[in-house]
């Protein structure tokens, strides 16, 4: 297969973010701390799966060799996935999951909002839908940041501990490569750097209000965007792709 075009790679990266984070959220189903949160986590998972499906379908069109959404989701190996490290982080406890959602949504909401003006009509349409969904994810997760940060001593401790772990994966939100820079230059894609001020403001304001201290200078991990993942990621894919790998080339 020829090297992926910048647009294909761009679309697949966003699709991978949505699928992997949606998959993580779906792992909660039936095990949430309260039934209302089972509903909310499933809602957010469904939104992300929907975004992933639209993006993979578009990737198939861009590539033009007949791959469909499931070919991308189920028949690629770890190294071909280029989602953000943040999205693949294991669920941990509820504080960890909600913080991961908050850190992602605080980025994805303004990012998709900016993408609504892309001259690429498909991306603009996906952005318009995703922007609304991510606004809800941000609202819901930000409310939990306040409840957990300013709830009990235990919830505060757990949220602070989750932030220590997740914070170093947030730098990757703003990374691009040469291919993406070319798309940015053509205004097809939004520069993630351009939403950094809004992300920083949302995160700082919310966590400060939640009485959680933001870690000082930290090393930022990267690698997801180049297909270098955490060890946990292989296990996620093993589960996700199990049936398709068990009985290949079948219709499900």
């Amino acid at each position: 297969m020829p090297a992926a075009s910048p647009l294909l790679r761009y679309v697949l990266r966003r699709a991978d973010d949505a699928l992997i984070l949606g998959h993580r959220l779906s792992e909660w189903c039936g095990h949430a701390p309260m039934m209302e949160e089972d509903m909310a986590l499933a809602n957010m998972g469904l939104d992300l799966l929907g975004q992933a499906r639209a993006l993979y379908t578009y990737a198939g069109e861009v590539e033009g060799v007949g791959r469909n959404e499931d070919d991308f989701a189920y028949r690629r190996i770890e190294r071909d996935y280029e989602n953000l490290l943040l999205t693949e982080q294991p669920n941990g406890d509820f504080a960890h999951t909600m913080l991961r959602q908050f850190l992602y949504a605080a980025f994805a909401y303004p990012y998709w909002q900016a993408m609504m003006t892309s001259p690429d009509a498909t991306l603009a349409a996906i952005a318009a839908k995703s922007e609304k969904e991510m606004a809800y994810h941000l609202r819901h997760s930000a409310e939990w940041m306040l409840r957990l940060g300013d709830g009990t001593a235990e919830s505060h401790r757990r949220l602070a501990a989750a932030l220590e772990i997740l914070w170093p994966t947030t730098g990757e939100l703003f990374t691009t490569d040469e291919g993406e820079q070319a798309l940015i230059a053509q205004a097809i894609a939004t520069d993630p750097e351009s939403v950094r001020p809004q992300w920083t403001a949302t995160v700082t304001q919310t966590l400060t209000q939640a009485t959680i201290e933001i870690p000082a200078k930290a090393w930022m991990h990267t690698g997801g965007r180049q297909g270098r993942h955490s060890e946990a990621f292989g296990h996620l894919l093993t589960e996700l792709q199990y049936v398709q790998r068990l009985i290949p080339n079948a219709t499900w």
């Binding site: 779906s26 039936g30 499906r53 409840r147 709830g151 009990t152 919830s155 009985i247 079948a250 219709t251």
Partner: protein, 331 residues
């Protein structure tokens, strides 16, 4: 708060004795197909029977999330994954409306959930069987949601208004689940030999437990007589089982699957099936099914591990409660 206040109502049993007239009026309303609403007078036994039935139903929806939840992360296509996640989410929604309907009878959701977690309350036996392959998602949707519909359609006319209304909403979603499950089976049966074998195996494992979902035969059923008189129940267990078999046999034929009962035949419009293993049924109901321990353990774990989250939410809400409200309460 509201339900806690209701819980403190004195037992109305003694009053009931003086109230033979009220009881007669109540039965007359039932006979006239009137709906009983939450604030209407009702015999304590009616309240208790309904509380038990609605809460068991709610528990079944919530425990029922687990066997299907087991396959969400392994669903074989993105379409199936999204549909299954949405389905399991619907079941959670059913649990929520049912707990709300039960609360109208005066017992709080916390108390009802506590009955489940402590093992005092029962839930449908079917959810104590394991889901072993992807085909089980098809079999459960087709058969378990199918059996649930047979049970629940008549409940849309239940004499208790809040339960009847919850059932109307629930039944719409259940029939969607049933079609979705059947479509999974159809896809497998039109697939390759391995897929078809997987579908047959799922049917073999779920068929008998599904027949048990309708409860013991009419000759042994404990609660039916009063429930019929109160129009909580409209058909007997055996009648519902017949309807279910009647609807399912032609569907299995279309799939090209064999129902695992060589004795199954229709004589003069009545289905005769081989013997149902009622010992197994009673064992599963009493806690000895293959997954009873895991199911309750999973619900308890979610409850226990979520305790700090619920405490945090309560503590935060208390901190943010408007100051003047606290002052008013103190005054």
């Amino acid at each position: 708060m509201y339900t806690q206040a209701l819980n403190q109502q004195p037992e109305s049993a003694p009053r009931e004795a003086d109230n033979a007239e009220a009881a007669a009026r109540f039965q007359a309303r039932i006979d006239a197909e009137e709906r009983i609403e939450a604030n209407d007078w009702m015999p304590e036994a009616y309240r208790r029977t309904l509380t038990r039935q609605i809460s068991q139903h709610a528990h079944s929806e919530i425990v029922g999330m687990l066997p299907e939840g087991n396959w969400i992360t392994r669903a074989p296509s993105l379409r199936r994954k999204a549909a299954l996640l949405a389905k399991v989410q619907d079941e959670c929604g059913h649990g929520l409306y049912l707990y709300a309907a039960a609360e109208t009878l005066g017992t709080s959701r916390e108390e009802l959930v506590d009955q489940l977690l402590s093992g005092r309350a029962k839930y449908s036996s079917i959810f104590n069987y394991p889901t072993l392959t992807w085909a089980d998602m098809g079999a459960i949707g087709w058969l378990v949601d199918g059996a649930a519909i047979m049970n629940q359609i008549p409940l849309c006319r239940c004499s208790y208004g809040p339960y009847a209304r919850a059932m109307i909403r629930v039944c719409k979603e259940e029939s969607f689940h049933q079609r979705q499950g059947y479509e999974i089976m159809l896809t497998l049966c039109r697939g390759n030999a391995e897929q078809k074998a997987m579908a047959q195996d799922a049917l073999n494992r779920f068929w008998w437990p599904c027949l048990m979902m309708f409860g013991p035969p009419d000759t042994q059923s404990q609660h039916s007589d009063m429930s019929m008189r109160w129009k909580i129940k409209r058909f007997s267990n055996d009648e519902l089982r017949q309807k279910f078999i009647n609807a399912t046999v032609p569907q299995a034929e279309i799939l090209g699957l064999t129902l695992p009962d060589p004795e199954l035949k229709q004589i003069d419009g009545v289905w005769h099936h081989g013997p149902i293993d009622w010992d197994e049924f009673h064992r599963v109901i009493a806690g000895g099914g293959p997954c009873n321990r895991e199911r309750l353990a999973a619900r308890r774990r979610a409850h226990d591990e979520g305790a700090w989250v619920r405490e945090a939410a309560a503590a935060f809400a208390a901190k943010r409660a408007p100051k003047n409200q606290t002052e008013k309460q103190a005054a």
